[in-house]
Amino acid sequence: MKRFAQLIKTLDSTNKTNVKVDALTQYFLEAGDTDKVWTIAILSHRRPPRPVNTTLLREWASELANIPLWLFEESYHIVGDLAETIALVVPSSQSSTNKTLTLFLNEMIALKKKKDTDKKAYLFENWKVLNYYERFVFTKLITGGFRIGVSQKLMTRALAKATEIDEDILAYKLMGNWDPNTISFQQLVLEENKNDYLSKPYPFYLGLCFGRNS
């Protein structure tokens, strides 16, 4: 998670496409395989369903921040993003997490079925120990929708650079239905699959032929 939060921070702090691609490429070279699969899933809008509704998130965040709900709402109104508001108002922490992105997402999937008291305890526990950016990313994973100016195309380009697999082939592999919970990085990205080539429409095939050498 530490590495993923660092990635989001870098993506967030630049408007330049090449800096974003470099940051993503570096991430894909360094992160663990399951974290990479989850990152691809999140950046291609395949996040798990929201485990806690936003009404409860607001109530609990204002409770932890020790401010009345109306003041939380006023802050949200000015900040404009729920996860960012929560990350800003809860007491700051300088510590950091060692849990992986995958572990967090598995916990969030399991959380959906739990009782409200357990959900609240889980959120408090994490909000208290995560530093600002990790807390923001953690909450964002719960509320959904990372809008950080990274298109699927840009992510695919970075993945292509990191794996040296042709961008068009990757784009094709990442299409359709796959479940980040069950698929491995090997299966999703690395494995050569006959179907990748056979079912490819013509322009993709051309891309393959020329892409490797260019």
Partner: protein, 315 residues
């Protein structure tokens, strides 16, 4: 009902008993000025009363004015109303105004911050009955880190840009923020260049505090002089042709508004550092507490919100 000791009028905060205005926004006969920023010290008043360190600043901005310089804690009386100035810690020479009449004390903060920035005289909480406080950042979302951390991030950013052969352009208001940045920039990394507005203001402030050397950007400054060095510029220079000549460069802004992720992007700036010369949320709450005031009135920013919360804290 008797007239309050300080009232809000269309010319600014007014003390009727002494016929004097605090930071008036229209020309008046007698003005007490908290500090040199343009929204607090306007042109056209017949007489300016302010801290003596603020006199060179407002004289530089407003030209020839009739002014009286006051020391911290020195009392001057106008028609039985006792006035005195106390440090506000916002910029050099910035004051709070304490007003006392028949045992009633009101304090107007002007702009202030609770953190000691090492340049302006640090803020002092003054006991009063009514506290008129600014609350530019009066929301719990605003939390400042110690300046030392932010400033070391800024120096690291400069060093990284230098490693990539780029010019660092750092935006900050020419009075206050620019000098606070300048004071802590690491001259071991390179040369500090300035925009004319910042160079002039810094010249005015050099007798009042020590700052590292700066180099004004002129027509003689060549393209090869800048890479690896840093340029201090006012926010208004962003996007100007003056800046475009400095390619390759990276831009950053240092302000409280940089708290929001969207703020940096909306301003099309590469990097945002959260560094403010105003109080953050905790700073406001703790200073209100320290004054022991029965009544708190807020000016600036999210004042409706802040008035409400401070009223509730009292309960």
């Amino acid at each position: 009902m008797k007239t309050p000791l300080l009232q809000f009028t269309d010319k600014g905060i007014y003390c009727k008993q002494a016929d004097v205005y605090l930071d008036p926004w229209r020309p008046v006969d007698k003005a007490i000025i908290t500090h040199g920023h343009a929204d607090h010290s306007r042109w056209g008043n017949k007489e300016y009363i302010t801290h003596h360190k603020n006199i060179p600043i407002i004289s530089h901005r407003l030209g020839e004015i009739k002014s009286t310089g006051i020391e911290w804690g020195e009392t001057f009386t106008i028609n039985n109303v006792k006035f005195s100035l106390y440090p506000a810690g916002h910029i050099i020479g910035s004051s709070q105004v304490r007003v006392e009449h028949k045992g009633e004390v009101r304090v107007f903060t002007g702009d202030y911050k609770t953190e000691d920035d090492g340049i302006s005289t640090p803020y002092e909480a003054i006991k009063c009955h009514t506290f008129i406080t600014e609350c530019t950042f009066g929301l719990p979302a605003f939390k400042w880190l110690p300046q030392q951390e932010v400033l070391s991030d800024i120096n690291n950013w400069w060093q990284e840009n230098k490693n990539e052969g780029k010019t660092s352009i750092l935006f900050g208001y020419s009075l206050g923020k620019a000098q606070r940045l300048l004071k802590y920039l690491d001259t071991g990394i390179g040369t500090i260049y300035t925009h004319g507005a910042i160079e002039n203001m810094t010249e005015v402030l050099r007798p009042l505090a020590s700052f590292p050397p700066t180099k004004l950007i002129t027509k003689e400054t060549t393209k090869k002089d800048l890479p690896g060095n840093i340029v201090l510029a006012p926010p208004s220079a962003h996007g100007s042709s003056w800046i475009r000549k400095m390619v390759p460069y990276v831009t950053a802004s240092a302000s409280g508004w940089m708290t929001f992720r969207g703020a940096r992007r909306r301003r099309a700036i590469d990097k945002g550092f959260v560094l403010s010369d105003h109080c953050d949320w905790q700073g406001l709450l703790s200073s209100i507490e320290a004054t022991g005031a029965e009544k708190v009135i807020c000016t600036h920013g999210y004042s409706d919100i802040f008035s409400e919360i401070s009223a509730r804290i009292r309960l």
